[in-house]
Symmetry: C2
Amino acid sequence: MIPEGVGYLWGVQVAIIGLGGIGASVGLAIQHEALGWGVVGYDVAPDALTGALQMGAIDHPAESVAACACADLIVIATPPLAMPEVFQQLAPRLRPETALTDVASVKSPVLRWAEAYLPYLSRFVGGHPIAGTEHHGVRAARADLFHGAPWALTPTAQTDPDALQRVEAFVQTLRAAPLTIDAAQHDREFALLSFVPHAIAFSLAALHRENPTTVPPGGSWRSATRVAQSDPTLWAQLMALNREPTREWLEQLIQRLQTLADALGQGDPRTIQGRLCPQDAHAPDEP
Amino acid sequence: MIPEGVGYLWGVQVAIIGLGGIGASVGLAIQHEALGWGVVGYDVAPDALTGALQMGAIDHPAESVAACACADLIVIATPPLAMPEVFQQLAPRLRPETALTDVASVKSPVLRWAEAYLPYLSRFVGGHPIAGTEHHGVRAARADLFHGAPWALTPTAQTDPDALQRVEAFVQTLRAAPLTIDAAQHDREFALLSFVPHAIAFSLAALHRENPTTVPPGGSWRSATRVAQSDPTLWAQLMALNREPTREWLEQLIQRLQTLADALGQGDPRTIQGRLCPQDAHAPDEP
C-alpha cells in the first residue's frame, strides 16, 4: 500500500538492475507495497532473471542494462565492481528526469563512478539498505526484508532535491526508514559495524574448518559465525573498495585482542576483566 | 515427565548450589520433567534464593552449602572461582553414595579442585550444558533451556560408573543430550567455540563504546556482539581458568586478521578473498 504523502510516485516505472537477494527483494516489496508501479528487471544471469519473474519480483525482463535506461527510477543492485560498466551502459540513453540509486554497502567509490560516468550526476542518490541476511541470490528474496529497516542515503551538494525526494519516497514505500549521511562517514562507520563482523566471521569459520571440534558449537559460536555464510566474492570486493577504514578498525581490534591475549598469558582475572570490559576495570569483584 | 529407562531416579533429592541463570534453570527443568524429585537450593545472595523459591525452581532453601551435602545428587552451579570453597564446605558431610556434578564452562580446573577437596572423588562427574544465553541471574532461568542441548560430561579413569550413569540420567531427564569428552580436550575445544567468540564480542562492544556511530548497527553487528551482554566478571574468571587454550586460539585468530589487514593495505580483491576464505582462494571470480 502506498503510504500517504508519496502518492506522486503513482504509476512510476522502476528498473532493477541486478536480481540477487537485495534486488529481487526490492522488486517483491514494490509489488506488495506500491499499487500501480511497473517493475522491469535485468540480471546478467538468465537464472536470476527467470527466478525473479517466476516469483513475481519483476513484471518484465529487460534484455540489457541499456534497456533499463528509460525507467523513472533505476535501482542498481549488482555486485559493486559491476557498477562502473552499468553506469557506462546506461549513460547514452538516460533521460534527465530519471532518478538513480543503488544498494551497495560501500558508498564513496559508487559516488566516484557516478561522477565519472553519469550524464546527470545530480539525479543519482547513493543508497544502502541496512537489511539483508547471510543468504544470497534471488531465492533469498523477501517482500518484507526492508520493513522497519534503516536505509542510508548519501546525497551530496550536487544532488537535485527532487531526486533525493523521489528516492526517499521510494525507500518509504518499501517501509524502510531513510536516513541521510555523508558517504565517507557512512563507509567509515560501516567498516566497523558490518565489515569487521564479516571479517571475523569468515576468519573464525576458516579457523574451525582447519581445526574441527568433536563437540557441537553452542549459541555464541553460531552468532559469531552466522554471516560467514555470505558470499565471499562479494565481501572481498566490498572490503577492497572500503579497504582503509576496514583495515584501520581491524588493526584497532587486533590491538585489543592482543592486549587480552597478553593478559591471559599473565593470568590475573581482574586484568583480564579490565581488557574485556574497560569501563568495568575498577568495578568491585563480585564472586 | 520422566523418560523411560531412568525411572530409578524416582524420588531423588537434588541440591543446587548457585541459583543463577543455569542453576535456577536446572531447578525449573527438574520441576517440569521429574515427577517426585525434591529440590533444595542454596545461593550466597538472599535475592537469588528468594527468587528461585518464588519462581518454583526449588522446593526448599538451604541455609548453607553444608546443608546441601546430604542430597542424592548435588549440582554445583556457582561461578567457578567459588567452587574450591564449596567443595571444602561440602566435604565433611558428604555421603559416599551421593553423586556430584557441576555446570562450569571450563572443566580441567574443576577436576583438580575435586581431587584436592572431595572425599569420594569417584562420585564427581564434571559437566557443562551447551546452553545458556547472554542473559544471567535467576530471572533469566527457563525450564526449557536444556531441551535438545548437548551436555558435556568429563568422567575420568577414577569415575565410578554408577555416578556417571546417575549424572547421565539426570541430564537426560532435563531433556539434554549427554556426551562424554576428556576434560582437557573439552577446554581446548570450548576455548575456540565459546571463549574466543566472547572475547571478540566484549572487544567489539568496547571499541564501539569508545567510537559511537551515528547509524544504527545492522544484523551482522548484533550477532557479533550479542554475548557482550554476558557477565564480564564470570567470563574473566573463566578465561583466567582456561587461559592457555584461549590465548593460543586468540593468537591464531589475530594472525589471520593481521594477514587480512595486510591484504587490505595492498587492496587486491582476490588476495583479500583468499584471506577471508582460504578454501575458495583458487575459485574463479564471479562478478
